[in-house]
Symmetry: C2
Amino acid sequence: MNIPSALKLGLTVIAIAIVATAQAPQPIGIPHIGLGDGPFTFDTAEQHKIRVTVVARGLVHPWSLAFLPDGGILVTERPGRLRIIRDGALRPEPLAGIPSVRAVGTAGLFDIVLHPKFAENRLVYFTYTKNGENGKFATTLARGRLGDTGLTEVRDLFSAEWNNLNGGSRIAFGPDGSVYFTISATTGNAAQDPASDYGKILRLRDDGSIPDDNPYVHRAGYKPEIFSMGHRDQLGLTFRPSTNELFSCENGPNGGDKINQILPGRNYGWPLVSFGRTNPGPRVSDAPWKEGFEMPFVVWVPSIAPSGLTFYSGSRFPAWKGNLFVGGMKYGELPGTGRLERVVFNDKLEEIRRESLVTDLKQRIRDVRQGPDGFLYLLTEEEDGALLRIEPAP
Amino acid sequence: MNIPSALKLGLTVIAIAIVATAQAPQPIGIPHIGLGDGPFTFDTAEQHKIRVTVVARGLVHPWSLAFLPDGGILVTERPGRLRIIRDGALRPEPLAGIPSVRAVGTAGLFDIVLHPKFAENRLVYFTYTKNGENGKFATTLARGRLGDTGLTEVRDLFSAEWNNLNGGSRIAFGPDGSVYFTISATTGNAAQDPASDYGKILRLRDDGSIPDDNPYVHRAGYKPEIFSMGHRDQLGLTFRPSTNELFSCENGPNGGDKINQILPGRNYGWPLVSFGRTNPGPRVSDAPWKEGFEMPFVVWVPSIAPSGLTFYSGSRFPAWKGNLFVGGMKYGELPGTGRLERVVFNDKLEEIRRESLVTDLKQRIRDVRQGPDGFLYLLTEEEDGALLRIEPAP
């Protein structure tokens, strides 16, 4: 375990301001730990030694990645740039074609995924925060066609209503060819409003039109694009390869992070029920769960700020097959506490244990993906962010 | 941050067997990290640099400690020995007077506390597992008078009914002079049985007799010593200095660890409601909480295996004043993941954030106490256990 090379003490102090309230406005400081050069090796349970390699660095708040059939890797940066890594090197120039995004706070450019028939149509889907008038903005799904220098024929497929709600968005293509994506609502009651897209998972055809078999498509007062409701800030969305079941991960405000198994037309309860507290301290709800809402699939109290979600289905890590991997950006609201969380299930998909990985790196983990090579890839959510690859080590 | 000296890779592999079930019988291995020589320094939030010093080592599964007015420190070892540290050195010979204990699995010698008038009466209270006939045993509260070579006039004050339930026991003297102590029930339904002492907090006078004002003293079918019920394995018990409110920490089976604020005659729900799962995976209950049971004060999902509980009230760590400290023995059921957990509250005693401390030591933390010098003291729950002192570092 080569901790010494894994840690490099940075000089800056991150001053994070707890979401401003009358009760808890003080910033709290902790020295920021920069990412070392690596590779790093760590002992882990069941899979034992792993090696973590820095594939690329100098990424500014990287949010998502997509593996191209030709070996390239697309990476979104939250400020609104699309980058590409070729032959193991980050190209200095961003790819063209990303529209102007609202790059303020947690808003910006989010997820990127390839169309299931990308090899034929070269279509790439992405989500971002689109600026509107009067200080309003909207989470938006767009697509473009990938060429040598970037995206062409870029167009918005769907925009949520103009609003001022923050939060990210993830995309997942379903086995039915539909595109599922999350619209977050970190504050307010939009998640329970069937006339709002916020706090929902939406389902569209790949051209942005609304499928006839969406659960609320014939229900008055409900937006027909809604697939599930009652969500907060969902920063992970994935289909389980072996069964094609849909899962999302969702940030609670202060405790109450969770993974949900997403079923059509169900209500997941935010903000009427939660295992968490508001940032100033009071409980979100008088009960952590009530009849009529879906029970969380996996819960974290305190928060780990989950982002990125992948069931491992490769052969490189035999002991991790079928495990669920979740990026974590902080523990208990403190910086320097990021991790990759591993969740182990029994054969009925009931949780039996968890493990926190790469905690010694002290980096926020924004995304986790399985590469076509069967290794795991991570993005660190930092100003000087990196793409990391995890392999078994001898 | 001197990580290198903080870690010393041990040679043994701990093979822990998940509680045997049809679904999850495999042992999982991770290399055990031995405790280095120290001192270790760590960066922390709010209080910033801390130094951790090894006060004593070579303690076999130390469970509890008590500070004597003359500067000595009593330490219990689970196998049934009472040790003493004098002038910073662990005396090689155990103190005399501890009765024979059942030292099997998690059973053995547990907590030790001084009588509030110890300076006058030299009385020491402790809990242990007493062996009975036919393979049965009983959690027992005893006391003795401390002399130069050990305890004299040792006698049992109270034994729970003969049973075969495992789990530890903590003691706390109340501001009313009563002695409160926990009787654990890790399995079965005893916690909801008013005719059983298991899964309860009991309240007695300091001579072992039952106070007339206990909540169930006049209620048919209830044992009169019961103060609160519906508990699982409670390994921490403390009165909050500023308000004299009573708190316990309780181990869930697999997720669902919690801290409870203990009020007389209340039911805390185990095993009818829980935030956790059974070790093989199914949820303990169909709802994490229901009307009629007390809501947990603080929850951990996944488990940290909390043991030891102290509100910090000293002046050495100004930024930690009023914070609650909880030892943790593992995270998510995996070894090598112990920590000291810090919980921060607003002025209404609502949780606002948490921090995991001394995680880099990779030791199980069994107990946490505030010393008369205002520093924090920890016991590591290991075969080669240690007493650690935490101080602010420049």
